[in-house]
């Protein structure tokens, strides 16, 4: 999956660098949101 992301990123950067910037931003925000959700759920499991 990471390989696909890197290949898609390369194609985007070659096509339009701004799109790659947006992709990097979206991936970072998405991963952070996912990690935050998992941490919050696990935290509640530990408490409850």
């Amino acid at each position: 999956m990471m390989e696909d992301l890197v290949v898609a990123g390369s194609a985007l950067l070659a096509h339009d660098p701004r799109l790659y910037g947006l992709l990097a931003m979206a991936v970072a925000v998405g991963a952070g949101a996912l990690a935050g959700t998992v941490a919050a759920v696990l935290g509640r499991f530990q408490e409850g």
Partner: protein, 302 residues
């Protein structure tokens, strides 16, 4: 692992280890831990711009994840948060432009190393001052903790950002250390968002590198969290504080073109950090409930 934009190879195991070491430091020493990411990546062959850009993307993820934390809101005013966020954004824009301009002059890498060497030495100097009565030092000093977090993510921009960050702190004398700590990453969000976009558009965010670093960081933060819950701050600072000058020395060695020595020093430091973690966790496990009670009491006093 091949980095397509930087057109270079990097050892993936070393990248995961760097993330792990930084994650450990972030949890046991505070946001200062992020300071080691970019210089360590640079030592292992990642170009300075890519190291800075990828670190920004990582800080963006960490900031977003931090907003999900189910803890009481920061004890700082909205005005402070707005001023600090604006200062961070201004520093990010200035820092990114400066770093790209320096790349044209072929001076980006030495400038980045110099900035990080100074930041790591300062962080350690302030850390060893802790414990003296009446003095609040880096890990718990709100005025310095925030700029340290900002400087970490935004590389050279951090140098320009520290001053507005300190000035912002002057408006808010009652802001608590804990509040600023909880607020540091969310405050950084607008700056990290912009920096990730700008560095990404400049081809300086490597998603493969980011993924491996994030993996190491998550594991390191979890291990660091275990230590943080079981050991008082003074013990943590004594055991893990030595990593900061070791990383600073590695940056210096890299600047002197002693790259293999710098690389081994970084790996050795991370190994020592992991040994320290194992030792503290084993000690806490063997100490039993009586010692644990004493530790809790010590924690309250500290």
């Amino acid at each position: 692992m091949y980095l397509p934009f930087a057109e270079t190879f990097v050892n993936p195991y070393a990248v995961v280890l760097i993330g792990l070491g930084a994650g450990l430091l972030v949890r046991v020493l505070g946001a200062t831990g992020y300071l080691v990411l970019a210089p360590a990546l640079n030592i292992f062959g990642v170009p300075s711009i890519t190291a800075a850009g990828t670190t920004c993307a990582l800080l963006l993820s960490a900031g977003v994840a931090e907003t999900f934390r189910d803890t009481p809101g920061p004890r700082v005013s909205r005005a402070f948060l707005i001023i600090a966020a604006a200062a961070a954004l201004a520093g990010a824009v200035a820092g990114q432009r400066l770093l790209l301009a320096l790349r044209e002059l072929d001076f980006a890498a030495p400038a980045l190393r110099l900035a990080y060497f100074a930041a790591l030495v300062t962080a350690f100097a302030l850390l060893v001052r802790r414990g003296k009565p009446g003095r609040r030092t880096l890990p718990h000093h709100p005025a310095l903790r925030l700029p340290a977090a900002l400087a970490a993510g935004l590389a050279l921009g951090g140098a320009g950002m520290a001053l507005p960050g300190l000035a912002a702190r002057a408006f808010e004398p009652e802001a608590g250390a804990k509040g600023v700590e909880a607020a540091a990453l969310p405050v950084l969000l607008p700056a990290a968002l912009w920096a990730t976009y700008a560095y990404g558009a400049a081809g300086a965010v490597e998603l493969g590198l980011w993924g491996l670093l994030a993996l190491g960081l998550v594991i390191g933060r979890h291990l660091g969290g275990l230590v943080r819950r079981r050991c008082p701050a003074t013990v943590r600072a004594a055991v893990f504080g030595g990593a900061l000058p070791a990383f600073a020395l590695a940056v210096l060695l890299r600047q002197l073109h002693l790259t293999p020595a710098a690389g081994y020093l970084v790996l050795l430091t991370i190994l020592m950090l992991m040994l320290g973690t194992g030792w503290l966790l084993a000690a806490a496990l063997l100490a039993g409930p009586a010692e644990a009670g004493k530790m809790e009491e010590h924690k309250r006093i500290v």
